[in-house]
Symmetry: C2
């Protein structure tokens, strides 16, 4: 019997689970504070939801199968199609805009590398039904909030911003035929992962001529939005990014964002601003990515509804926090361990544990009936603040021995007094 | 495009999600208070984990498939095998006993009826490495705690208790050959779902003679543990249940438990006490079920390790709470909606929202730029306590108009004063 989890998937032992819960709690807290509501769907979806015309890698990495009735099903590789499906179900009755978030587990069958497994949990937040860059501004501020809540500073992360319309304008300007745009974008998205020579070769193979390739590279080397705006005077994407930057500036968070014409994002459904979060020197994999996808809902047969959102995985961010020494202290916490002297106090221990829990305390019983020294060692390892020792003599006087596990001091206490304490008064 | 979720699975819109989160929070709270630690595994497991010799229904209801490398994988139908796998991985280093809980989503491909879908979330809590009925006592008290936390009383739920060894003793006493025991237990588990005639027929078909069937029925009609103990004087299962009942009695929760010789539980791995929670008149499907499974870990190639636990699904309990009028009020909560007068205050709104969130408030911005009446109606529907109206004139004096959405009263307030308030002071 193979005791390991399926290749590319993880077991969460209590220590890892506390870390995961901590991260999810941060995501939930900042989402709710920003007025986002939580939703979820099932990890199983109809396969057709992910079959798109464009050459998205994601469609080739599906965990798909047939159920006992011959339905083609997939484990979701991303959340946005499920979100679109839910919105379209209740399009008429939902009060637009909706601000929704979710923390789904997503699956992709792909080669495993650092920071990439076959499953991850991915915080998704989206604003549906709000056009204009105010939605982008809200989404970026939510991201910045989340990172600040985790203790990261503007020296440790940056959001790199671009707009798909800028990329399209460049391709139009250098006269790349429109039918090549999609495949050229897919290649541009891979630029960081290949050598400059391979990049040029791939572009030529896609149908561009070498002069176009050189011109494209020149445009991609322009660091400032202002310089680019002179070359592309009527580009809507540039105006949008200028407005968006202004809103982020007023909010006081300019130092967290940066224009970067090389950002593409792999998914074919983006239509406007796109962004990626990374270290300011881009020394990690992208921590999170997203953008505007105004036409996705219409491809599923609905109206065109403006939409913007992101996905933020759990794997890379935990590596990043570790690297920057920002991992929180997540040792186990427990108020009391109750230790009976022998089996005759087991019932009393259960009763006392119940009474203390009703008051709000966390209480573990140690029923191993081992030597006191061993039991106290276990209590200490479990993170208990105090041990309650049930000795027959003290119990006859309605007393227990309370031991402070840190100070290693103990004294008798009337049961009645013990049960008058509550966790709130202690803190 | 089919907008519905896969048959038998659920979408969680924000309203259902609040309900789910409430339930999960109750489960987490009582688990942590009782010293249980949370763990999780991936919903994808190796299929072999669920292939058991005995005729468990569960093995025939798997969502199974082959991945791109030819691995046979399944969506987990229950959590216990995954738990066993994790324990066996770290058997030497884990400080026994471990008290662990989890809230996994589980999948079974089966016919859909009320309270039964093809997926559900199932709270699991287990104690591994503690022999004797103290572990059962802890597990039952945890269940009782959870139900009380949800507002249910002893008139609304009952835990029905039996022991597999009692059933085996009865079968031995009436001389049913040991090789028939497993299949007879599977039939006994279905007794509530078939007519008395079908029940007898099924037993005869399994290989029992009609005299044995009559004797079995007589034993199953005995309501009291005491009466049964006279017929089965040396049965370990009876001694165990007597000890367990005594511990629950000392803890003050006798009225929540009841002996019931008809309880079997479908899974083949139970070896000792088994239990089911239901309405005192058994008017629901079982709300939860569990028991002792001391030999499961050894079937996976490990040592024999004592283990006891339960699974508690999310579907039936929510129906039960609804039926008893115990569903909590879970309307959306929001502290502020910020409404700019026109587009020139959008930046100010974002800045103000950020400042208020830093103080701990939940804040939504309304950037629809609709008429004030419409915007206030939206604020009211979103559950906001207060609206902040950004009028140009007030803003010039560094003031905002604060509107109490319930009292429908509004007045101007210095921005500086607004930002001195914090959520804690308000409650």
């Amino acid at each position: 019997m193979d005791l390991q989890p399926v290749k590319g998937t993880r077991d969460f032992f209590p220590e890892q689970m506390r870390q995961r819960n901590w991260l999810f709690d941060v995501w939930r807290k900042v989402s709710l504070q920003s007025g986002f509501e939580e939703y979820d769907t099932c990890v199983l979806e109809h396969e057709e939801l992910y079959i798109r015309k464009a050459g998205d890698e994601i469609s080739q990495q599906l965990y798909s199968f047939e159920d006992k009735s011959g339905r083609r099903l997939s484990l979701r590789p991303e959340m946005t199609p499920s979100l679109a499906r839910m919105i379209l179900q209740h399009q008429r009755s939902l009060p637009m805009p909706v601000r929704w978030f979710s923390i789904p587990q997503c699956f992709r069958y792909e080669r495993m590398t650092k920071g990439r497994r076959r499953e991850h949990f991915q915080w998704n937040a989206d604003i549906i039904g709000q056009s204009g860059v105010t939605a982008e501004a809200e989404i970026l501020l939510l991201l910045i909030n989340a990172c600040r809540e985790m203790g990261l500073t503007d020296a440790e992360f940056r959001i790199f911003l671009n707009d798909r319309r800028i990329l399209n304008s460049i391709l139009e300007k250098i006269e790349v035929p429109p039918n090549l745009h999609d495949s050229v974008l897919v290649i541009m998205d891979k630029r960081d992962k290949v050598s400059p020579e391979s990049f040029s070769e791939m572009l030529v193979e896609s149908g561009m001529n070498s002069s176009q390739v050189e011109q494209l590279k020149e445009h991609l080397a322009i660091p400032e939005l202002e310089s680019l705006s002179k070359l592309l005077p009527d580009c809507e994407g540039i105006t949008a990014l200028q407005e968006l930057s202004e809103l982020i500036k007023i909010s006081g968070f300019s130092s967290y964002i940066q224009f970067d014409v090389s950002i593409v994002r792999g998914l074919s459904y983006y239509t406007g601003p796109v962004f990626e979060m990374n270290h300011p020197q881009k020394s990690h994999r992208a921590i999170c990515g997203g953008g505007r996808y105004d036409s996705l809902l219409s491809t599923y047969g609905g109206e065109t509804i403006p939409a913007v959102g992101f996905g933020f995985g759990d794997v890379v961010i935990l590596d990043v926090l570790e690297e920057h020494g920002r991992s929180p202290d997540l040792s186990r916490k427990l108020d009391f361990t109750i230790i009976p002297f022998d089996s005759t106090q087991v019932g009393t221990a259960l009763k006392l544990a119940g009474d203390l829990r009703t008051l709000g305390w966390s209480v573990e019983c140690n029923f191993g009936l081992r030597k006191m020294k061993k039991a106290l060692q276990q209590a200490s390892e479990s993170g208990a603040e105090r041990a309650l020792l049930l000795f027959p003599e003290e119990l006859e006087r309605n007393e227990v021995v309370v031991r402070d596990m840190k100070l290693r001091e103990q004294s008798s206490l009337q049961l009645e007094k013990l049960l008058q304490m509550s966790p709130e008064e202690q803190t």
